[in-house]
Amino acid sequence: MLDGPIKILVPTGSLGAGASEAEVRYGIAQGAHAIATDAGSTDSGAAYLALGISKNNRGSVKRDLTILMQAARAAGIPLIIGSSGQAGGDRNLDWTRDIVLEVAGEQGWAPKIALLYCEQEKSVLKRYNADGKVRPLPPLGPLDDATIDACDHIVAVMGAEPYIAALEAGADIILGGRTTDTAVLASYALWKGVAAGPAWHAAKIAECGGQCAVNRLEGAGVLISIGQDGFEVEPLALSNRCDPHSVSAHMLYENSNPFLLTEPGGILDVTEALYRQVSDRSVKVTGSVWQPQPYTVKLEGAGSRKFQTVMLIGIQDPQVLSQVDLFHDRMLAALYDRVHKTIGAAAGDFHISLRMYGWNAVSGDRPPPGTPAPREIGVLFVATADSQEMASQIAKACNPYFFHFPIVLDGELPSYGFAFTPADIDRGPVYEFLLNHVVELDDPMELVRTVWIDMSEGEKA
């Protein structure tokens, strides 16, 4: 039996976002049993998985790790990090591992580190797919081998079990590849045998750190105290507070369904959850239910099939600004015509888009008649083609028309405001998520590889 609630210190919404020493000190003083945070998500796009890079700079991640490792070591509690290096692929995880080793060296600490890898070989996934164990999630359809082959990197998003196994084996620090945000934060409490409903719900509420507090700009982290009948949440910044509205509203965030959250091995159902204020700064939540389900993990795969080259001009010409849509349509037709005439069939399956910043670039829709003319607009030219070289050739072919295209046909040719020379910028591949599928597993550890580094002994598998 547990003596009391399990307390998890969630220092920040994402590793590298800026943990606070004072907040971490407060959480430790409250009796935190573990420090847990995720270090990424899919939210910033597919490039980070496809390239195996973090969106954060190294210094910001190292700064947070320095604070958290120092606190975890001093308190003698585990530090649990998921979705390492933004996307949680093997390269993202190794990047984070190297920073952890560097910080440990600087601190004169030799921790026992568990690395949880979840990147997948294409041949393995093809086998699961052939065995009928892969299911699509809407809006995508059944998976085919060509789509698997089009991915540069594929991860199988982990649940709590690999973390629980690493805790059981005595890890001081766990660095996980891609994991559901909630599993990272729930793992310690689940290991200690806390009821699954409160553990998963607390983790969902704390996944973005201080975002579930009343003042979202004040402070970075929260403390969750998870018991058998429910959990309490309070911000780590003493000047901030949680209230029932701020906490319950967070269940809505970045979530397509506000009541049901599908996780590996079950569904968190908060339909009947009750939120009440129990102190000035903390809220207690009861009524969260965990419904066990057959074990599935989600696949995330990123790859690129197209390349882009961009150009940017600024326009203040009042004649253009008084008829932006007409200008857009005429110029776009002229650019396509120019590519057909100068490159022809060799251009392949290409696409040109003109984004009229200051007019309708974000939506692409048509402003209603009578919309006042803007003072100036920026026009972003985006050429997309099957190779970088072709995208670049298309931009170069379009350059004179993009630069000089007149709205008044009998006048002198205008020259719009380029910002750079050369005017065309090869932007690189178009990275996309190509998978939205789940795999059914018999064993939660099936697609996970755990590597241990005991710094007092050296690395072993």
Binding site: P138, S256, Q308, S363, G364, E432
Partner: protein, 103 residues
């Protein structure tokens, strides 16, 4: 004057819900407005088809009476970061809902 979404909501936001879905949160200004408008036909699937090109069969509605809010999620017409991406995190998509008239 016919009320618009911005007249009856105190806060409206939009965000990606994974790379393939976008979600809109409409926080109504009090329980009366929630009751009067959260089921309004002007907010039906056709609206999301007209404004965003969404497949009406993939528009989902989740009223949350306890918060006087309505969550609407639909499948993105183009996955995040694709060739025609204009709003990577969908954080600006809510703006086009603000002037929808609720007669």
């Amino acid at each position: 004057m016919m009320p618009t979404v911005k007249d009856v909501c105190r806060h409206v936001r939009s965000k990606n819900a994974g790379p393939f879905w976008v979600t809109f949160d409409l926080f109504f200004d009090g329980p009366e407005n929630f009751q009067a408008y959260h089921n309004h036909p002007a907010l039906g699937p056709d609206l999301f088809h007209r404004l965003f090109g969404a497949d009406p069969a993939l528009v989902r509605y989740y009223p949350v009476p306890g918060l006087n809010m309505l969550k609407i999620s639909h499948a993105r017409t183009s996955p995040q970061g694709g060739v025609v991406e204009r709003d990577m995190h969908c954080g600006q998509q809510y703006v086009r809902l603000m002037d929808v008239e609720l007669e």
